[in-house]
Symmetry: D2
Subunit: 139 residues, 4 copies
């Protein structure tokens, strides 16, 4: 199974007055995780994918916060592809601390769209990527 | 049933290169919605609640994106309290456009903690607020 | 002299672990101020301006922080046009508290560009707006 | 002369609908640059400094935007200490692209304060750090 593990150092800007990382930042971290996953799996970048007119907006997201991340912490985003049959993509995420503790988990669902945000079938625009994703979700 | 309806004007800073509001901003909007709900229900502010040592971090969040919000749009956040029995609070949110279309829905779960982020029972520190929340969830 | 005064309520998300509004948010507040100024002066929205292919990126910015804004505070952004002769626009900002204290001041410089980010002369694409800006800076 | 050079990969979240990095993010990048500079020079972290009750809020900031950074770009933040005589600290920043083009420059001014945000003299609370900063600004 393909798993991407990306390191992130918590930024001061990401904290709030509770003294911990504001919960909305985990969605930005998940985004970094899945773009790195795509880079690793498809041998392209998400930036390149968008230039080709293939966009991947979020349709659903779920987050579970276990332990707060703090400023200066090193955290790891582990991303894997949980579901893909041709239309809907679901990514699973686990955020862990340096010592291996789980800080947060979650998933995001996505559909491929073109630049006008109209749904497209990836198979019709890039069969290679479609097959790589199909393989990854089975593996 | 108590429902808070708060108006938000989409900021340029909230857009991304897809030309729509970045999905992470809805968590900040939900936050505005529930702090306004608390203000309306408990006749206090969330800022004042925190000064009294009662904090309400997010433990879970779910978001479903129906239609994108765009820069300059006026959107409405409708917030209601879905669950509360003394420990866990669940808020429900609906984001609608000016014309009444649903742009997004979601919920967030919370537990009360003190400044050291240790769980507390609201009943033990503020019985009035506890009762108001109990009433609101039944109503 | 045209002055726009826009009210903003500080968001929880805008705080950092120092317990105050993170300094980067003032640039987003200035942005709200100048788009409201444009709306007031030109009887259009900045969103509409962009749809017409007239964009106004920031080329320089200066900020001076006098007193911190805090979560829940109501602040006012006062914006005026300081300079415009046909090319470069400079806006001046003052952020004040409810009691009238100055929290921050600053300015931003801008040049008009088209969607490909190429410089344009406003006079050549919209003479009315050009004249309104010329009048505002003199007034 | 001590110069810190820190690499940043542009995040999708940092873009706006102009298709470029929103100008407010450079303040967060400068912040990363100066905390890395401090780490390199003082052999401590900014997080540790704050735990010791020494905070470094921004009092002034200036930014000049030369060329836009885009999603997926690798950029470098070069930070050096420009001024320090015991009270006021000024850091200088240059943001460059992978090919060495200057994307932005700027500076931030700071004063040391304690947790209550009251001004302090660094020399009185940590003489070693004071001397290291004095040396760095001369070097």
């Amino acid at each position: 199974m393909v798993i991407n593990r990306t390191e992130i150092e918590v930024r001061y800007k990401e904290t709030d007055q509770m003294g911990i990382v504001h919960h909305s930042n985990y969605l930005a971290w998940f985004e970094i995780g899945r773009t790195k996953y795509i880079e690793q799996l498809l041998n392209t970048t998400y930036a390149e994918m968008e230039r080709k007119g293939i966009l991947l907006p979020v349709t659903d997201a779920y987050l579970s916060y276990k332990k707060p991340a703090k400023y200066g912490d090193i955290v790891y985003i582990e991303t894997k592809l949980k579901q893909y049959k041709g239309i809907r993509l679901v990514f699973d995420y686990t955020v862990t601390s340096k010592s291996g503790e789980v800080l947060a988990t979650g998933y995001t669902s996505h559909g491929f769209v073109d630049k006008a945000l109209k749904p497209i079938r990836l198979r019709n625009v890039n069969e290679t990527w479609h097959h790589e994703l199909m393989k990854a979700v089975k593996g």
